[in-house]
Subunit: 115 residues, 2 copies
Amino acid sequence: MLSKELIAASTRPILLSILERGENYGYALLQEIEKISAGQIVWSEGMLYPVLHRMENEGIIESFWQEAEKGRPRKYYKITEKARPIIQVEKQQWSTVNQVLKKLWKPVKPIRNST
Amino acid sequence: MLSKELIAASTRPILLSILERGENYGYALLQEIEKISAGQIVWSEGMLYPVLHRMENEGIIESFWQEAEKGRPRKYYKITEKARPIIQVEKQQWSTVNQVLKKLWKPVKPIRNST
DNA sequence: GCAATATACCTAACGCCATTAGGTATGTCA
DNA sequence: TGACATACCTAATGGCGTTAGGTATATTGC
């Protein structure tokens, strides 16, 4: 169970990275992330759908309805050209923080003793 | 300039990791993170002080006033024993997300062409 | 002497966003 | 026929970063 802050920070980068590999629909994305993270990351629908709508409003992704062989129609999302630079910035920002944390998590060098 | 979501997700882990290495006071922490991140991460006071107060209320850190050689007294913070397991969980959570992103950012293997 | 700047702390109003908790609709299986 | 999985959506709530203030001390420049 991730903290809500970490969810907030990682959802967009993860979503865009998944969609970068191919279009997909909301419900499948919920299962996809759970699978990729080996059950570590679980998204709620109440979080995901608003995020998708917001990103569509911003023009980062776009949607189209598609009939499934069975069940109700699915709303597929795909990234737009506008998404590319955003993904780059997000990667860079994530790396910045990750490098700082990696640095801080390195054990402190003990002071060499002269004995 | 980091996104506010990434700030929210990283502030506590970073703060606790810095304080794990030694007690420090608020204003110095602002400069410390800027230095460690080579200017990439800049915290605002309006973000930092409430975070410190919240963590103190939760018993994760504790504070004491100390006179400086010059200027006003400083409020130093140090981690408590309660912080240790929390830091561990945060490290683990961060690593989980980081591994997922690393996986997603690996270039997709192109299909070998028979030409 | 006095204004500007750096240090060092604090807080209130605002807006964004995940959570919680609902709702609708279709198809399958017992 | 009732339960469950699939598949979409939204409203109310609370937490938290941003913005924009405030207070106090010490130094530096005019």
